[in-house]
């Protein structure tokens, strides 16, 4: 799947990733890679601006966290508004994919 196809859905993918719990930017990238089986071929740097966009929209909040041993990382958490948005987008996506799926199914040959 190319980056263009994913572009419109990246925000939803990120929200769904953070539904499992707070995570820093690279952990989000890793989770997307694992759950998609490496199918999303997008520059990894595009995830960070998307996180920033979702934060501006109030769907995420971020905090700097410094582990005992290691560098400080910006950790993102889904807000209640983010959970609501994800719920709505999930419903919209299910409806949309069902509708498109109806067209994409191969036509069954007519019974002779």
């Amino acid at each position: 799947m190319n980056a263009e196809m994913l572009k419109g859905h990246l925000d939803n993918v990120i929200l769904a990733t953070l539904e499992r719990g707070p995570a820093h930017g690279y952990a989000v990238i890793e989770d997307i890679r694992q759950r998609s089986g490496g199918r999303f071929d997008l520059p990894e740097g595009t995830v960070y601006p998307a996180l920033h966009r979702l934060e501006i929209a109030g769907l995420l909040v971020s905090d700097w966290v410094t582990p005992d041993a290691g560098r400080r990382k910006r950790v993102y958490t889904l807000t209640p508004a983010g959970r609501d948005a994800l719920k709505d987008r999930r419903a919209g996506w299910t409806e949309f994919s069902r509708a498109v799926g109806a067209f994409m199914e191969p036509e069954k040959p007519c019974a002779a």
Partner: protein, 199 residues
Amino acid sequence: MRRLTGDYAGALERELGFDRALADRAREDLAEYMGEMADAGLDRAEAERRFGEVHDIACSYASAALPGRLRQTLGVAGWLALATFLFMRWRSMQLGLQSFAHPTLLGVVDGVGFLLGAAALIVAWRRGRSQDALRGMRAPLIFASIAIAVSTTASLLRALPALEGPDGTLILATGIVQLALLLLLISRLRLISRYRRFA
């Protein structure tokens, strides 16, 4: 298209240099990513390749930040309009300038300028919800700031003779507040204009 180089961070910062806060955010994100890549044993060039082409990443940051910047600009414009209206009314009442029977040129410019500015702000606010908010909001915001600047100038000129009087200090203070808000709005407009190259 800018090629990936060893000075990736510098190139990204230059691309986003028009918005200091955004450039800082991108630099922090990149540093965090490069740290993770270094821990994973990836060399710098490969990490930069995986992060993405500099201009594309800068575009992503710009489009992520733009809606917030537009909202902030609209907020400043709203405060300016409110301050202009309240201070205009206060000065008019305090100085007995509201003579509708004998309108003066400055009085008309003051009132009409404000009304046009407020109308342009409403247009900008409505266009802010469209897909191409930057293109839609910029022109009415510029028009609003000019109209409100003209109104403010006219309002202050009307109050000028009273500067020597007992309300002089307050009149001066209201003028300074309006001027400060106007300058802030102009700086916000200049900032969002710089986003156009990414549009």
